[in-house]
């Protein structure tokens, strides 16, 4: 009946996905979530010398409802974790998280009772960025890698199938606590 029946199967939807991915990746709005020294590098990345405006994301939104990317920059204390989760929950879908620096990614050198050992305990993380703190180029590299992921993100029924597949794989995977030998 429509044009989609005359085209090869999946053609129209993949084009829509490509256009939507391009639109999404080219105008990410990061939420301000600077917690420690990594935030200084994040601010430097936003400033003139490194210039995040080249990627269409110069405005760091202080309001989570107008943001779709959370750059967790710095160590997350146990007390900050619920706040982090609330800010994440307030962001509208689709949303992404970059865990910037060693502390945010895994606790870094602060392996103690006060610091969350990686923000992926609290929110789902898309890109892990090592470094203490990472230099601005490293953050830009992480953002470019995230752009690549967003560009290839699926939509609608395809996305639901992908999520289901990922969840099945995650449930079947061996938990880290059960790993032995070299994988620890």
């Amino acid at each position: 009946m429509g044009i989609e029946e005359k085209l090869p199967s999946g053609f129209l939807l993949t084009t829509v996905e490509g256009v939507a991915g391009y639109a999404r990746k080219s105008s990410l709005w990061p939420a301000t979530f600077g917690l420690a020294c990594c935030a200084i590098e994040m601010m430097a990345t936003g400033a003139g010398r490194f210039d995040l405006a080249r990627f269409g994301m110069e405005v760091f939104r202080p309001s989570p409802r107008q943001a779709d990317l959370m750059i967790v920059a710095g160590r997350v204390s146990q007390k900050m974790a619920p706040v982090l989760r609330q800010v994440y929950d307030q962001m509208p879908n689709p949303k992404w998280v970059i865990s910037m620096g060693a502390c945010a990614s895994s606790g870094g050198m602060f392996n103690n009772y006060a610091v969350v050992q990686g923000v992926d305990h609290v929110v789902p993380v898309d890109i892990y960025l090592p470094g203490c703190p990472p230099r601005p180029e490293m953050l830009q590299d992480a953002i470019i890698k995230l752009h690549n992921e967003i560009q290839h993100m699926k939509m609608g029924a395809n996305r639901e199938a992908e999520v289901r597949e990922l969840e099945t794989a995650a449930l079947a995977a061996t938990p880290v606590t059960d790993m032995t030998g070299l994988l620890r």
């Binding site: 392996n111 890109i127 090592p130 203490c132």
Partner: protein, 198 residues
């Protein structure tokens, strides 16, 4: 210049700046134009001797020095049949967890054989925790001119002291033949396996 009113002096700075050179680094496009400083701490590298043998002796001093417990080393004994480094021991397992690593360089200071150094590579971000744990094969230095991949014997007539004295300048013909011979044997075994499978 006469004194401007305060409201206009800010605009004067803006106006003046548009005639200055652009300060922005075009990072992914012109990456080579802005290299890190010579002493920049980037990804680690496990070095080799001039004949391709590994410098790491598996002593775990780097792991002990690490303030973030990012390094995991498991040493093993060299044997005459399988030699990876001159001397008794070599690092069989070498892992660096870059999500823990704070790039302080204490491991490099602790290393007694200069096996561990740091490169200028910094693009390490990835989308999974396991992918940012680097194994030995990710960290080992590439084979340069005159090197042959271990395991192979030391240079004939030399011992580990001669390696540390810098008397080894490259792989000898004997070492090359040994490596080629073993490669040929492995190839033969692979072909026999394939033949058995068919």
């Amino acid at each position: 210049m006469p004194e401007l009113p305060p409201a206009l002096s800010g605009f004067w700075v803006t106006f003046r700046t548009q005639f200055q050179k652009v300060n922005t680094e075009q990072y992914p496009e012109q990456k080579d134009k802005f290299p890190p400083k010579p002493r920049f701490h980037g990804r680690h590298q496990l070095n080799r001797w001039a004949d391709g043998l590994e410098k790491c002796v598996g002593c775990e001093l780097c792991a002990w020095a690490c303030p973030a417990d990012a390094i995991y080393v498991q040493g093993a004994d060299n044997s005459e049949a399988q030699r990876f480094s001159p001397g008794e021991r070599y690092g069989r397992v070498y892992q660096i967890n870059y999500l823990r690593c704070i790039f302080c360089g204490l491991c490099i200071e602790a290393c007694p054989t200069r096996a561990l150094t740091m490169t200028h590579e910094y693009e390490l971000a990835d989308n999974g925790r396991e992918k940012v744990i680097f194994e030995k094969q990710d960290l080992l230095a590439p084979l340069r001119e005159g090197m042959v991949p271990p395991p192979h014997a030391m240079v004939a007539g030399m011992d580990s002291h001669d390696y540390y004295m810098g008397k080894v300048t490259g792989a000898t013909e004997q070492q090359r033949e040994e490596v080629q011979h073993e490669e040929a044997q492995r190839e033969e075994a692979r072909r026999q396996d394939q033949g058995a499978a068919q």
